[in-house]
């Protein structure tokens, strides 16, 4: 299985020396599919890599650099647009890692720009962005109403000229989720990286990454999330502070699991795992040598779980029924 190989090589770059052409093909396909190819390229800078693979990795690095450049520009544009609010823009996820020059930003692919604003300023932020050229992506009134009532962010906005999406968050998990992180505390502890731009504190960055990976979503792209967490954990100086912070946000069990998974996959590999942990590992390592996702039953289970995490069963049934009638089917 190539995802296993990918994890081993990220952990110990020198082990690629043993790869033959079959392994290299599988490694590239899995890394590309997990959006970790440019990250892998950075890890393998000094390793013995065939010429052809070097070229493939150089392409991935170009792509990551472009995405990072665009993300920083979008962050700048958002700061400009939201200037009248009189509060700094707090960057989240990839854009934050790159803007703050963190290890987690090395080779990080970035899709949308994610920012955090206080909930009581959300309406003003929305109006300012709309005035500056962003528009709604989803025209469906049900989707829009759903976002506004239940989600942790505005419905996604896209800039009409630059064609880039922005997700404006007011907290880091949906309001329907069982865990309710303390959004005002996230904002209060954020740190300035440039005039008008902030990122979450090192501890809160870990909390957000693990909330995103383990308390939300179906673990698609989970390996990249876990790599983020591994890098972000290394930036935390005071472990006790992190534990306290995770407890405050209701994410203590998630932190424990993320640590076990990160240690098991990206450190010594001897970490004792619980039985559910093993299912997570199975899900995370599902890519085969052709870059395809295997284990359909495990994946489906995590898909169901992602919905149960986000909503109480009654609301979930109503939501799925509405979506089904609109023709939506799980892929």
């Amino acid at each position: 299985m190539s995802a296993r190989l990918l994890v081993n090589v990220l952990r110990r770059p020198e082990t690629v020396a043993a790869c033959g052409s079959t392994e290299w093909n599988g490694l590239v396909a899995a890394a590309r599919a997990e959006r970790l190819l440019a990250t892998l390229a950075h890890r393998l800078e000094r390793a013995d890599v065939p010429r052809g693979v070097r070229a493939v990795m150089a392409d991935a690095v170009i792509d990551a650099q472009r995405e990072q450049r665009i993300a920083l520009w979008e962050a700048d544009r958002a700061r400009e647009a939201l200037h009248p609010l009189g509060i700094p823009v707090i960057l989240l996820k990839g854009a934050a890692y790159v803007a703050a020059g963190l290890k987690a930003g090395e080779g990080r692919m970035i899709g949308d720009l994610d920012i955090l604003v206080p909930r009581d300023r959300l309406e003003e932020a929305e109006a300012l962005l709309l005035a500056e050229g962003w528009e709604w992506v989803k025209s469906d009134p049900y989707d829009s109403a759903y976002y506004r009532r239940w989600m942790h962010e505005l419905p996604p906005l896209i800039h009409r000229e630059r064609d880039r999406m922005i997700d404006v968050h007011h907290t880091i998990l949906p309001l329907t989720a069982r865990v309710t992180p303390d959004a005002p505390a996230l904002i209060a502890n954020s740190v300035e990286i440039a005039i008008g731009l902030r990122v979450l504190s090192p501890e809160d960055r870990v909390c957000h990454a693990l909330a995103h990976m383990l308390a939300d979503g179906d673990l698609t792209g989970g390996l990249r999330n876990l790599w983020d967490i591994r890098c972000l954990l290394a930036d935390v100086r005071d472990n006790a502070a992190l534990e306290k912070r995770a407890l405050l946000h209701g994410l203590a069990p998630h932190l424990a699991r993320a640590r076990r998974l990160a240690e098991y996959l990206f450190a010594d590999g001897n970490t004792p795992l619980t039985l559910p942990d093993r299912l997570y590992v199975r899900r995370l390592l599902s890519r085969d040598t052709w870059g395809r996702e295997r284990h359909p039953i495990t994946r489906f289970a995590f898909y169901i779980r992602s919905h149960l995490l986000r909503m109480p069963p009654g609301l979930l049934l109503r939501h799925l029924w509405t979506k089904w009638r609109k023709g939506h089917r799980p892929s």
Binding site: N25, A29, G52, V53, D59
Partner: protein
């Protein structure tokens, strides 16, 4: 994957995995003179997989996958498997290639100098390049011209020529060796399609670049006309004809700017292929 095939085409290489034997058998036959990927490692993976749970056996149809995919690509019938593989390779190049500026153009070479033909689907660029390739020019490719970001040279990407409808007849009249034709695929989404193996020389010299010398915008089905195209218009048309201009950023701007300011561009309307070829030969003689 149960069946697989590797091939290098120009500077790019592919690994194609298929759930069925048939498309791979055709690829192996038609690409038999092409080299394998360097060190056995391919730039891109293409997957030909059943488009649904039962689609391996029952009304078999191909879902096109791989490193890069078009989100709304319709499945293809298994009997169009060769077309699916070719489309799969094109999608990888169009969306993933970063080592050259990629222009949707056919190209041929003579004396180290390249003629690029670019235009919409149906402009005849593919057919003209294939015909020139049989008449003393070196065929470089019918889909993508690869412009070197540093030197400005054009690099070949001579995959199988994809002949559509009337072009199949035109090339059958020209190419005597029936072994060079793939099966005629009837009623594909683009009409009838047959693949043609490029001339031997196109394959053996697929890693030789050429200096762009003339840029042609052919348009089939209009009264004969020739007119120079101003630089600004060429630039805009080529940004639209490039699939990676935006992704490459400044490097692409520099390469395209150099191409546009150093290579003359002519728009050519034509009604008959033979007359178009005569026009191209005389334009070329004027340039030389």
């Amino acid at each position: 994957m149960k069946h697989s095939f590797g091939v290098a085409i120009g500077p790019a290489s592919f690994r194609i995995g298929s759930a069925w034997a048939d498309p791979i058998r055709w690829l192996k036959t038609l690409y038999s003179d092409y080299p394998q990927p360097d060190d056995g490692v391919a730039d891109f993976t293409v997957l030909l997989e059943p488009a649904g749970a039962l689609r391996r056996w029952w009304r078999p149809s191909i879902g096109l996958g791989g490193d890069y995919r078009l989100p709304d690509a319709a499945p293809l019938a298994l009997r169009h498997g060769l077309l699916a593989a070719e489309m799969g390779m094109n999608i990888q190049m169009a969306l993933g290639w970063r080592r050259h500026l990629l222009i949707h153009a056919s190209s041929v070479e003579k004396d180290g100098r390249a003629l690029l033909l670019t235009g919409e689907s149906g402009s005849g660029k593919s057919t003209l390049a294939a015909q020139l390739g049989e008449r003393g020019w070196r065929f470089m490719g019918d889909e993508f011209a690869l412009i070197d970001l540093e030197s400005g040279s054009a690099w070949p990407f001579p995959r199988l020529v994809s002949l559509k409808n009337a072009a199949i007849r035109a090339l059958r009249a020209e190419v005597t060796d029936p072994e060079r034709f793939g099966p005629t695929l009837r009623e594909t989404p683009k009409g009838d399609i047959a693949h043609l193996v490029p001339p031997r020389q196109a394959v053996s010299r697929m890693r030789d670049s050429a200096t762009p010398a003339l840029l042609l915008f052919p348009r089939f089905g209009f009264p004969d006309d020739l007119r120079p195209v101003p630089e600004g218009e060429v630039f805009i048309r080529l940004t639209q004809a490039s699939t990676n201009y935006v992704a490459l950023g400044e490097a692409a701007f520099e390469a395209l700017h150099r191409l546009v300011t150093t290579v003359p561009a002519v728009a050519m309307d034509y009604r008959s292929g033979e007359e178009a070829i005569a026009t191209i030969e005389s334009l070329w003689a004027e340039q030389a």
